[in-house]
């Protein structure tokens, strides 16, 4: 069999394989059906060509030539049908039907009037093949077929011009190239010199392979790139082929008698030998071509190199970000480029640097870390913007997010991934000219983004370390160090005028949370509060954990009025939190007290002091409010006076002095037990119990500074403290159900010898309940630490009581009390 026969068989196998593939891909879809028909026409052409090549007699050759001449015409017509299916153009349907009828007509002509197609055959001198003579109908058929081809080309070119989609344009380029190949193959048959060679078969096979590739690969490489590289690479192949032919010629000349040297097997052996010989050259040759080809894109490499150099010296994140956007815009010549990085404070991705026309509300352009776009980018290196409207995973995008993409004219996203973590992304628009990015440019930007990610990550690490040094680890807000830095910075700013606001804030009664719910719960409360504060402040305000449960909020540019507005917002947020979550975590509401102040440049140094003073005042008034609330509650439910309600009132008082926390409850327990020992019963015991809880109620009027003073009290301070028993009496007198406790509260600081206050009563003139309270109150106070002394031991306290029996305390009561507590201590010791 001749070489051409092998080519035909090979082509036929290819076509059959392609037809199967196409039908398997989607036989119900018009496009694939049209493709299959077109390939079938090609296969028919190859089959008849094969029969021509193996014909032994002129009659056989004539018959198959007549059959074969139908092929080119039908192929052009079915190519047209395929193009119109590819374009989904229903207007071409009538022309498609005419074409099909025309193909049938040609077939009939071939079968029944073949002499008009191929009148005869003659043997080719050099190849020995039969060569057909062309009949008068052939040019006519060819021209009609060409008309179909011309329409197909016209449609494709029109689509190409109208499309801005690079992939679609790429596919059209493939189709046009394929058409060119068919045309060359068909035209070659008209040249008597070329007619003897299977040029049409080779070009048609290439054509079919090319189209199939274009169809199956929806995301094609840039055709220009593929062609250029392909052509350059094929230079080597051409060289090898030329050498092959030379060698063949040499063999033919030298061994003219050598039988079968033109056989396929011989060619293969020669080609194999040459391939081995030139294989070592191939790699170096390709490298040279690559250098030549990519050299045109030297600018890109320059960009990479410049960035690599710059990123070593740039530690500042802002500088680095600006460098990246500038390099991309200058080198790739795109109209807009923006670099989004994760904001360490809000965890959102926001624009860190941008080149090109900026949208008016640039600051609002951001993507939260739970945005679907961020999640998709975390899994991909790049994303064409048009996929935003395609991918179902992005259906959760908000309208504002989609608008952000639109205002930035994004054509492509490039992820900045470092160890599978998305640290940011680049948005890149089309070229300044409006031309979309080429595949090559996209690939380069993807590669560049990887480099950028590494450098940005280094800068971020540096930034993070700096931030850690100024951040409170528990709450994540700034610490006091940063507060001082910020004040210094503000000083400079205030020199040009303006003002600075400060809110000092603390958790009312924070120690209570720690004591009752434990320190982890206290920490949780502080974290939640820090979060609420950050949500409440304006962007640019600085939230600081000042120490313990105290927070400071610096409000640059704020007046006192603005400060109050922010404080009000905080109050609302805290209220909302209480309603929504607070009471699920704690039985008590979260209450914050705030002091707000604002200053100009001159008295900046006093700002903290002044705001702190405001906080102090707020705290005082909150304490009073707290007490009033308890009193109101008591008055409201007059009929339902309960131990818990009175206890609540007592606790409200104790909040002012951490040293007396729980004191009232303990005195209550001791007094009730002692009262029972001394024979009190029923209402008397109840009255004693309530009085014990409320005996220090009047301390609400004593300033906290005095209550917590470490040193000796002045005479005035002492007088203020002593007034608490009278004030307490006055408060309980206002509550009907607590009337009976008033004398006990008033006299619980009287001394047995008459040296006490407020009335200097003596001995049994002091109400029994008040005498009991005097003993139990002193005993519990001695066992507790005070600002001015540490706690006494049990034995020391009992000793003190006994020492002052008869002078300060009623001796009978001291006797009864010591008996009571000692027996309990014994029992506890025995146990």
């Amino acid at each position: 069999m001749a070489l051409y026969s092998y080519i035909s068989i090979f082509a036929l196998i290819c076509y059959i394989g392609l037809i199967v593939l196409v039908l398997k891909r989607g036989y119900r879809e018009v496009l694939y059906r049209a493709m299959a028909i077109y390939l079938a026409a090609m296969a028919y052409w190859q089959l008849t060509s094969l029969f021509v090549s193996i014909s032994r007699t002129p009659e056989q050759a004539l018959f198959w030539y007549r059959m074969m001449t139908i092929g080119p015409g039908a192929v052009f017509i079915f190519f047209f049908s395929f193009v119109s299916a590819f374009r989904h153009d229903p207007r071409r349907k009538p022309m498609r039907q005419i074409g099909t009828l025309f193909s049938v007509y040609i077939l009939m002509t071939g079968l029944f009037a073949g002499k008009f197609l191929v009148p005869g055959v003659e043997r080719h001198a050099s190849t020995g093949l039969y060569i057909p003579a062309l009949g008068p109908l052939i040019p006519v058929y060819f021209i009609i077929s060409l008309a179909f081809l011309a329409v197909a080309i016209y449609d494709l070119v029109k689509d190409y011009r109208g499309s801005r989609n690079e992939e679609h344009r790429s596919r059209i380029r493939y189709l046009l190239l394929a058409v060119l190949l068919v045309f060359i193959g068909g035209a070659a048959n008209f040249d008597p010199h070329l007619r003897g060679y299977p040029i049409d078969i080779v070009t048609n096979l290439s054509h079919a392979l090319l189209i199939t590739y274009a169809i199956f690969r929806h995301r094609l490489l840039n055709i220009k790139l593929a062609l250029k590289t392909g052509l350059l690479y094929s230079t080597l192949t051409i060289t090898i082929t030329a050498l092959n032919l030379l060698l063949m010629f040499f063999l033919k000349t030298v061994f003219s008698e050598f039988a079968g040297y033109t056989t396929f097997g011989a060619v293969l052996i020669v080609a194999f030998l040459l391939a081995i010989f030139f294989n070592s050259l191939r790699e170096r040759f390709q490298q040279g071509i690559d250098r030549l080809f990519w050299g045109k894109r030297y600018g890109y490499y320059q960009m990479m190199r410049d960035f690599a150099v710059a990123s070593v010296s740039l530690i500042s994140l802002n500088d680095l970000a600006n460098k990246v956007t500038a390099m991309i815009q200058d080198t790739v010549q795109v109209s807009t480029v923006a670099l989004f990085l994760q904001d360490p404070e809000q965890a959102d991705y926001r624009i860190w640097s941008m080149r090109g026309p900026a949208p008016p509300d640039l600051k609002t352009v951001s993507f939260s870390k739970d945005s679907p776009l961020v999640r998709v980018l975390a899994r991909k290196h790049s994303l064409p913007a048009r996929e935003v409207h395609l991918l179902p995973q992005l259906h959760g995008l908000w309208k504002a997010e989609i608008e952000s993409i639109t205002v930035l004219h994004v054509e492509n996203f490039f992820s900045l991934l470092f160890k599978d973590t998305l640290i940011g992304f680049l948005t890149v628009s089309s070229h300044v000219s409006g031309r979309p990015l080429s595949e090559q440019e996209k690939e380069l930007l993807k590669f560049f983004a990887n480099q950028v990610a590494v450098s940005i990550n280094n800068a971020l690490s540096f930034e993070r370390m700096r931030r850690m040094s100024i951040t409170d680890p528990l709450t994540g807000v700034f610490n006091r160090r940063y507060f001082n830095e910020a004040i210094e910075q503000e000083k400079e700013r205030l020199e040009d005028g303006g003002s600075l606001g400060l809110i000092m804030l603390d958790v009312f009664n924070f120690k209570y949370y720690n004591d009752h719910y434990g320190h982890p719960a206290g920490d949780l409360l502080l974290k939640e509060l820090a979060r609420l504060l950050q949500e409440s402040v304006r962007s640019g305000d600085i939230v600081v954990r000042y120490g313990g449960d105290e927070f400071a909020i610096l409000l640059p540019g704020a007046t006192l009025q603005t400060g109050h507005l922010v404080a009000e917002r905080i109050r609302e947020k805290v209220e909302q939190w209480n309603r929504r979550l607070g009471l699920k975590l704690f039985e008590e509401k979260l209450t914050v007290t705030m002091g707000v102040y604002a200053v100009g440049c001159r008295n900046l140094d006093d700002l903290v002091k002044l705001a702190d003073k405001e906080l102090y005042l707020a705290r005082e008034s909150e304490e009073r409010r707290n007490l009033l609330r308890s009193l109101e509650r008591l008055n409201k439910d007059r009929q339902k006076l309960s131990f818990e309600m009175v206890l609540g009132l007592a606790r409200a008082v104790e909040l002012r002095d951490p040293y007396t926390r729980g004191h009232s409850e303990r005195v209550n327990r001791l007094a009730v037990k002692l009262g029972r020992v001394l024979g009190l019963q029923g209402p008397e015991i109840e009255k004693l119990g309530y009085a014990a809880l409320l005996h220090d109620l009047g301390k609400i009027a004593v300033p906290r500074s005095i209550l917590q003073k470490r040193g000796t009290l002045t005479a005035t301070e002492m007088r203020l403290v002593q007034e608490h028993s009278v004030i307490g009496e006055e408060i309980v007198q206002a509550i009907n159900l607590l009337h009976g406790t008033a004398p006990l509260i008033r006299h619980h600081h009287e001394r047995y010898d008459g040296g006490g206050y407020p009335d200097g009563l003596k001995g049994k003139a002091i109400p029994l309940g008040a005498r009991i309270l005097a003993v139990t109150d002193s005993y519990d106070a001695m066992l507790s630490s005070r600002p001015y002394r540490s706690a006494l031991t049990f034995d020391e306290a009992i000793g003190e009581l006994r020492r002052h029996a008869g002078s300060q305390f009623d001796p009978e009561i001291v006797l009864a009390f010591t008996g009571l507590v000692e027996s309990r201590a014994d029992r506890a010791g025995q146990a």
């Binding site: 929806h218 409207h389 995008l397 309208k399």
Partner: protein, 532 residues
């Protein structure tokens, strides 16, 4: 945004599938994430609108949990004072169009529902998705072509079907409607169908969506030999394509030795069946028209809800048009007994296959309805279709919530189950209605049937038998109580036609020309009886 039509022109078939049908590839956690995110966006919009503030009590929930805890369930009456007046100033986003829908007869003459552009566009997107899925045999296959012919059988604008299934669909894909919408809108229903079928003789018929009963009626006319009566043989001479179609169809039917059927003339790529009768008539539709049928479920207040997929395991739920909550049937019943009871709801990932739920929706994309009780009961058929790699819950329509007839606590009858029984009984009928009534404190099903048959006892027996075959609970009830609790009343011939004419005289809305099949009011029944 590139539409399916544009993408197809560019040969981007994979992109078409991703954009329109990609939701089938979402995992349930991804769906829940989309639900959460779009709800949070919607809450922001609602929080700044008058209608949202009114319903949410002036507070904007910040989380899904808070939303479900604090916002009450609503019905149309909560919106009626604004929406019936088409007051756009109170809405969360400016509407693109207003869609009209019929309330249950007697409740409202009709209801107005605002559609934002985003909501309208995405509802149209899912209508295209339904056509793509219904016409394909596997994921990714696209057989729709530009200019495919659609038989116009739906109510025109401003009904949802006209607004979405015609206008929004056309915004995505250039189909050719037969007859064209501008012509169809001026015609009455029967004229429209007649002209559409005539045109499709010449042009072809690729797509149908509408009522299954209509396709069956057309199929029956063909079978009885009356289907071609409207085509004048002489006119075929000047309509060669119609002639060729008929010749081809006749050859096909003669070869199979049966009457000419629609499927001999047309091979629709997809027939989307909506409405209560889909399940009942589906087999007949496939006999007359071919097998490419699919079911869909939607409602005006929420656009599309679900579409059937290849596995026929029910309809896959659309994840991004509405935030979906479901009231378990037990909760629904508890509320019926005690109206003060606040039913709890479940989310998509908490549903259980086989259970019945009432649907509650909150529109996304700037829509208006918040925790809105649609009034429909659905049954979850599966939590996914592993065979086709679909992770979305699947449902089937069960009944209108108010249309469940509970018979002595034994069984629950729905419009669908009664209709199936009548159809399976073989009793010829024009139409029917049913109502729960009491005789001597005993509940029973009163069935009003327009039938040419006269022997009421025999007809009743056939229907009871069919119901027993369909519903084992009903069978148990008959056996235990020794009675069928079915009372049959044969309506005079033309009763339903008379009802329709009477309603037309009274100026009723298109959707109220027929009485509801379940629990029609005594006044409606009186009109049906008056027909003789």
């Amino acid at each position: 945004m590139e539409t399916a039509g544009e993408l197809l022109k560019q040969g981007r078939r994979r992109d078409i599938w991703t954009k329109y049908c990609g939701f089938l590839d979402l995992t349930l956690p991804e769906v829940m994430d989309i639900q959460r995110r779009l709800l949070l966006e919607q809450l922001q919009l609602l929080g700044s609108s008058a209608i949202g503030k009114e319903i949410m009590g002036g507070k904007t929930p910040q989380t899904v949990e808070e939303f479900r805890e604090t916002v009450p369930l609503t019905k149309y009456k909560d919106y009626a004072h604004y929406l019936l007046e088409k007051d756009e100033s109170v809405l969360p986003e400016m509407p693109y169009c207003w869609v009209r829908t019929s309330g249950r007869s007697g409740e409202y003459r009709f209801k107005w529902v605002p559609y934002t552009y985003r909501f309208w566009y995405r509802t149209g997107q899912y209508a295209i998705a339904a056509l793509l899925i219904g016409s394909s045999r596997k994921k990714g296959e696209i057989v729709l072509e530009l200019g495919d012919k659609v038989l116009f059988t739906l109510a025109p604008q401003p009904y949802m079907s006209g607004e979405i299934m015609v206008k929004a669909v056309l915004a995505h894909f250039p189909f050719e409607f037969l007859p064209p919408p501008e012509v169809a809108e001026k015609m009455d229903f029967f004229e429209r169908i007649q002209l559409g079928l005539e045109m499709s003789m010449e042009k072809d018929l690729n797509i149908f969506y509408g009522l299954a009963s209509l396709l069956v009626a057309v199929g029956k006319r063909f079978e009885e030999g009356t289907g071609r009566s409207s085509i004048k043989p002489l006119t075929l001479l000047v309509r060669p394509r119609a002639l060729a179609r008929i010749v081809k169809g006749l050859v096909k039917s003669r070869l199979q030795k049966r009457a000419l059927l629609p499927r001999d003339l047309w091979q629709p790529k997809v027939m989307i069946l909506g409405g209560m009768d889909s399940a009942i008539f589906r087999d007949q539709v496939e006999y007359y028209w071919g097998e490419n049928t699919m079911e869909g479920y939607g409602f005006s207040e929420g656009g599309g809800m679900s579409y059937e997929t290849w596995g026929r395991k029910g309809q896959a739920i659309i994840p991004d048009l509405n935030f979906m909550e479901f009231i378990p049937y037990k909760e629904y019943l508890k509320e019926k007994e005690d109206p003060a009871h606040k039913p709890r709801t479940l989310l998509l990932d908490e549903l259980k296959p086989g259970e019945i739920y009432e649907v509650v929706i909150t529109n996304f994309l700037g829509g208006t309805f918040i925790r809105y009780r649609v009034g429909d009961l659905i049954r979850i058929t599966a939590m996914g279709d592993p065979e086709h790699n679909i992770d979305l819950p699947h449902l089937e329509f069960y009944s209108r919530a108010d249309d469940v007839i509970d018979l002595a606590g034994f069984t629950r009858l729905t419009e669908s189950s009664i209709w199936k029984a009548i159809a399976n009984s073989g009793v010829p009928y024009t139409d029917w209605a049913a109502r729960k009534e009491y005789r001597d404190d005993r509940p029973l099903l009163k069935l009003l049937l327009e039938t040419p048959g006269q022997d009421a006892a025999e007809i009743r027996e056939k229907i009871v038998q069919a119901m027993m075959n369909l519903d084992s609970d009903y069978r148990d009830m008959v056996e235990m109580l020794g009675g069928s609790l079915l009372e049959l009343e044969i309506l005079p011939p033309g009763a339903f036609q008379y009802y329709m004419e009477e309603m037309q005289r009274r100026g009723a809305d298109l959707a109220h020309l027929k009485p509801p099949r379940i629990n029609p009011s005594p006044e409606m029944i009186a009109i049906l009886r008056r027909s003789d």
